[in-house]
Assembly symmetry: D2
Homo-oligomer: 336 residues x 4
C-alpha cells in the first residue's frame, strides 16, 4: 500500500508537533506538504518533514495535488477557510478541535460536507483515543458496575499564558469535557451551568477561575467539571464515574515512585503534550488507517457541531450565571 501523503496546515505549536509525530511514529503516512503563511515557521517544521513542499496557502497546495489528506492545526477561526476548499477537493480531513469557533460556522461546515455526499471530516477530540477514556466507556457499556449515574471531571493546568481569557475556559478547555461526556454517555449535553470557586489569585489578571461547570445530559447523567487553569502543581485530567453499584476512576497517572524525605510520591504530568501523547499518536494512526479504507474513525463534523452548540450555551452560562439550555439543529440523516 502506498503511503498516505498528508498536508499539515498550520505549523504553530500543535502543527509542528504533528509533523514530528507523523514523521517519527505514524505508519503508512508522511508529510508531503506544509501549508503555512509564515515562512520561518514553515521552514522550521520542514526540518522534520524531509519530503514536504512548502505552500503558503491551501488553495495552491490543492492545485499542486500535493496531498492525499489534510491535517488542520491552525487556530480555530482559520479552520473554515481551509476546510471548505479541502472538502471541495474531496480530501479527507483531520481538523484539530474546535471544528470552528462558533455554532454557525460549524453548521456551515456540516452543510458543506453533507452537500459533498461523503463523510470526509474527523475532529481532533483526542481524549476519545486515551486509554483511560476508552476503558471507562467500555466499562459503562458493559454495565459491570450497573448503570452510569454521574461523572466528576477535573481538568487542571499548571498555568496559562496571560492571553488566556474567561470565555476560553469554556470554548478552549471545557469543550473537551463537553465532547467526552457525550462520548462516555452516548447522550448529548442538554444544559450547562457555571459556578465559581474562590478565585485563584495566581490566575492571570482578569481571569476568574477555577470554575465548576455542571453539564446535564439527555440521559439524566449529571457531569461536574472542575475547570482549573492555574493550579501550579501539574497537568491533570481525571474523571470519577458514579454507577449504581460503585465507582470507576480514570486519569490517576503512575510511574516510578520515590520514597524520599518523609513521603512516597509518584510524578504527575506538567503538560497535555505528555499526558495525551499516546492519545494523539493513536488518533492519527487510526485516522491514517481509516483514510486508507476510505472512511473516518473518530468524532465527525456533526460531533464538532454538537460541541460548538454546547460551547455556545456554556459561554452564555458563564456570563449569565443561570442554567442555559442547549439547542441543537436536527441531525442530518447523512450522519446516521
Amino acid at each position: 500500500m502506498t503511503e498516505l501523503r498528508i498536508a499539515v496546515v498550520g505549523t504553530g505549536l500543535m502543527g509542528a508537533d504533528h509533523v514530528i509525530r507523523i514523521g517519527k511514529r505514524i505508519v503508512g503516512a508522511h508529510v508531503s506538504a506544509i501549508v503555512e503563511p509564515d515562512e520561518s515557521r514553515a521552514k522550521s517544521a520542514m526540518e522534520n518533514a524531509p519530503e514536504a513542499t512548502w505552500y503558503p496557502d491551501i488553495e495552491t497546495a490543492i492545485e499542486a495535488k500535493s496531498m492525499d489528506a489534510v491535517l488542520i492545526a491552525t487556530p480555530g477561526q482559520f479552520h473554515e477557510p481551509v476546510l471548505l476548499p479541502a472538502l471541495h477537493a474531496g480530501l479527507p480531513i483531520l481538523c484539530e478541535k474546535p471544528l470552528a469557533p462558533d455554532e454557525e460556522s460549524s453548521l456551515r461546515i456540516v452543510d458543506a460536507e453533507v452537500s459533498g455526499g461523503k463523510q470526509l471530516i474527523q475532529v481532533g477530540f483526542m481524549r476519545r483515543f486515551d486509554q483511560g477514556y476508552m476503558d471507562l466507556r467500555e466499562h459503562i457499556a458493559s454495565e459491570a458496575s450497573g448503570e452510569l449515574l454521574g461523572l466528576h471531571c477535573a481538568h487542571r493546568n499548571p498555568e496559562v499564558p496571560d492571553s488566556y481569557h474567561n470565555d476560553m475556559l469554556i470554548f478552549d478547555s471545557v469543550v473537551h469535557e463537553i465532547d467526552v461526556v457525550r462520548f462516555l454517555t452516548d447522550s448529548p449535553v442538554t444544559t450547562v451551568e457555571v459556578k465559581h470557586m474562590k478565585r485563584n489569585s495566581l490566575s492571570p489578571t482578569g481571569l476568574n477561575e477555577p470554575i465548576l461547570v455542571l453539564l446535564g445530559t439527555e440521559s439524566g447523567v449529571l457531569a461536574t467539571v472542575e475547570m482549573n487553569v492555574s493550579v501550579q502543581f501539574g497537568y491533570q485530567v481525571k474523571t470519577e464515574a458514579v454507577f449504581q453499584r460503585g465507582i470507576a476512576e480514570i486519569g490517576r497517572t503512575s510511574g516510578m515512585s520515590r520514597f524520599f524525605d518523609g513521603a512516597i510520591s509518584t510524578p504527575e504530568h506538567m503538560s497535555f503534550k505528555t499526558r495525551f501523547a499516546a492519545a494523539y499518536d493513536n488518533q492519527i494512526q487510526r485516522w491514517v488507517n481509516a483514510v486508507q479504507r476510505g472512511t473516518i474513525d473518530g468524532p465527525s463534523a456533526w460531533d464538532g457541531y454538537l460541541a460548538a452548540a454546547a460551547v455556545k450555551s456554556g459561554v452564555a452560562a458563564l456570563h449569565s450565571g443561570s442554567v442555559e439550555v442547549v439547542k441543537y439543529a436536527n441531525k442530518p440523516s447523512f450522519y446516521n
Copy 2:
C-alpha cells in the same frame, strides 16, 4: 482524679455502641446510668456497663444524682427534652448530632445554655475528630499549598433502610458536610443548592438520589457534595481540596493489599462504625478530658444551631431546586 460518671441517654444502635466504647476504650470515665424508657434495651446495654443503674427518664436520673455528665444518643426529636433538664442541672452534655431536628428548637437550646451562663453542650460532629479532617484543616491553616479555593466531597453509603427518605439526605447525611465545611474553612455556609444525578434504581422506593449539593461559604470557597446512599460497594467519605498551588485529598483508606485474580486491591469500609471508629473514640476521650477541666473540646451548641439553620435551607433547596440563602441569628457574645 476520680472517674467521670456518665449517663448514656438512649441505648439504640448508637447509644449501645457508646456504652461499649466508654467501658472498653475511654480512660477516666465509666457509664454510671442508662437512661432508656425501653427496659429490654436498657438491660441489654447494661451488660456492658456493670456499674450502671437503669433510669426510665432523665429527670429521675438527675434527681438520683447518678451522673457527672450526660451523653445523649436518642433520636434527634428527643434531644431537647433531655438537654433542657440536664442544662438546668448544670451537667456537661455530649449530644449526638443533630443538636435538634430544626432551627427553632436549636435556637431554644442555645438560649437555655446562654441563660445558664456556662458552656455545657458539645455536639457530636465526630468527623472533626477524624485524622483526615484534622490533617486537612491543619494543611489549610498552614497555607503550604496556598489559599483554599474549593472542596469536592463524596459521602457514599452502600445502602440505607427503606425508612430513609429524601429530606434525610440533607438533615441526616449532608449535615456532616455542612459542619465539616465550616470546620475546614472557618466560614459559615451561606447558600445551598441541590442537583440530581440520574436516580439509582437500587435506591429505596421514593428516594431520589444520588444528589449533588453545592455549598457556598462566606469565604468564597465553594464545596460540592456527592450524597449517595445506595452505592453498594462500600462506605466512603472523602474530600478533595483545591488550593492555589495544588490539591489535597483525604479519605482514601488503605490496609492489606491483595494481588489476586488479575488485580491489585485494597479494602474499603462498609459502615461508618468502622470508618469513624477512631474518630468516635477520640471525640469522647477528648470530651471526657475537657469535662474534667470544666470545659468542652469540640463543636458547641452554637455550631449545632448553625448546622440546623443550614440544613433548613438545604431541605428547602432540595424541594425548590433553587439556590437557597442561609439566614443565621446573631451570634451571642457568649460563644466568642
Copy 3:
C-alpha cells in the same frame, strides 16, 4: 472491677512513653509505681503518673506491695534481675523485647516461670498487635490466596545513633522479624544467613549495612529481610507475602495525599513511635484485660526464648557469612 495497679520499671525513652500511654489511653489500669534508680528520670515520669510512688529498685517496690502487675522497660541486660523477683512474687509481667540479651538467660527465665507453675510473662513483641500483621496472619490462615510460600520483609529506619553497632542489626532490629515470621507462619525459624548490600556511607562509622537476612522456617517458607537503618527517608516496616495464587502486602501507610510540585505524595512515618503507636496501645490494653482474667494475651516467655535462640544464630551468621542452623531446647509441656 478495680483498676490494675502497674509498676513501670525503667523510665527511659520507652518506659516514659508507656507511663503516658497507661495514663491517657489504657482503660482499667493506672501506674502505681515507678521503679527507676535515676531520680530525675523517675520524677520526670511521675509528672504523667499522679498516683505513682517512686521506688529505686524492684525489691523495695514489691515489698511495699505497690503493684498488681509489672511492666519492664529497662535495657535488655537488666530484665532478668527484675523478672526473677517479680516472678517470685507471683506478679504478672509485660517485659519489653528482648526477654533477655542471650539465649542462656532467656532459658533461665523460662525455667523460673515453669518452676512457679503459672504463666506470668508476656513479651513485648508489639508487631503482633499491629493491624497489618494481624490482617496478614488471618489471611494466611484463611488460605484465601492458597498456601504461603515466602515473605519479603523490609525494615527501614531513617537513622540510628552512633552507639548502634553491627550485632544490634540482629538482636535489636531483626529480632522483630524473627518473632513475626514465626507469628505469621506458625513455624520456628530454623536457619539464618546474612548477606550484605553495598554499604551505606551515611551509616555510622563501623556499621556495615544494609544487610539482607534470609530466614528459613520449618514449614519451608523462606523469609527475606532487608535490614536498613540509615535510609534517611522514613521509618518503614512492610512485608510482601507470596502465596500460591497471589501476593499480599502490608505496611504501606497512607494519609492525606498532596498533589504538589509535579507529584502526588503521601506521608511516611519517621519513627516506630508513630508507626506502631496503635500496636503499643492495643498490646497493653489487651494485656491489662488478660491480667484481670488471670492470663496473658500475647507472646510468652517461651516465644521470647525462641527469638533469643534464633538471634544467637543470627549474630553468628552475621559474623560467619554462612548458613547457621538454629538449635532450640525442648519445649516444656507447660507452654502447650
Copy 4:
C-alpha cells in the same frame, strides 16, 4: 528515506507478533521476507505482511537479497545458524534473547562479529526499553537519592506450560534480571546463588519454584530476584531499588480503578505481551532508526555473551545450592 526491508526469521508466537508490530506500528520499515521452515506458519504470518516473500531458510533469503536487516525470533538453539550467515552477509541483526543457548556459542558469535569488523548485532533484551527501567536507570545516574545499594526484583508469571523446566527459571526467565541488573548498575554480575521458597503445588510436575536468586555485582550492589512462574494472579515485573537516602520502585501498573464490592482495585497485566508491548515497540523502532544510521541502539552481542556467562553460573547455582562465581572472557576492545 527508503523503508528498511526486514526479514523476520521464525514466525512462532514471538515472530508472528513482531510481524504485526512492524506492519502496524513501526515507522520506516516493512517485512520483506518471512524465513520459516514451516509453511503453514509462514503463510499465516504473511497475512500481516503483504509485501513479504516466503523463504524456507536464511541462506536462500540472503541469496535473493530480500532484506536490509534481519530480526531473529527462532528458539534460542537456532540463533547461531541464522546469525552466522547474516553476519557473513553484513546484515544488521536484531536477535531475540538469548543471543545463544550457552556461553560457548555466544562467544563464537561474538568472535564472528569481531572478525567482520562492524557491530551488526543487537540483542532483544526489551526491558531496557521499558519506561520504568529507563526512569530508574536515569534516577540512579542522577544520584538524586544518593548511591544505589541494592535491588529487590520480582518476576511473576501467572503460569507456564508443562514443558517449562527448572533450568528455564534461569536461562529463560532470570536472564532478563541478569541483563537488567547490569543495565541499571553498569556493573557485571559476579556471583549467583539460588534459594528455594516453599514449592508452589500449582507448579507443573517437577518444577521446583518459586526461587530466590541472589545476584552479586562488581559494584557491591546486591540484587535479589523472586522468580515465580505459577503465581496465578497476573504477570508482574517490578523492582524496588534501595538507595542511600530512600527507595525507588518501578513496575506497579495502574489503569482504571474500580470501587466495587468492598474494595478499590486496579488491573494487573496477565502476559508479558501487554506488560512490555510499549517496550517491544520502542526497541524495534529505535533499532530501525539506528540501522538506518548504520549503527545499533541497545544491548550488543557482548551484552548477550555476558548474560550467557552469568546464566551458566546461575544454572550451576540452581543445581549446586552454592554461591557460583561468574567468569567472563576478556572484553574485545571492539566493544568499547
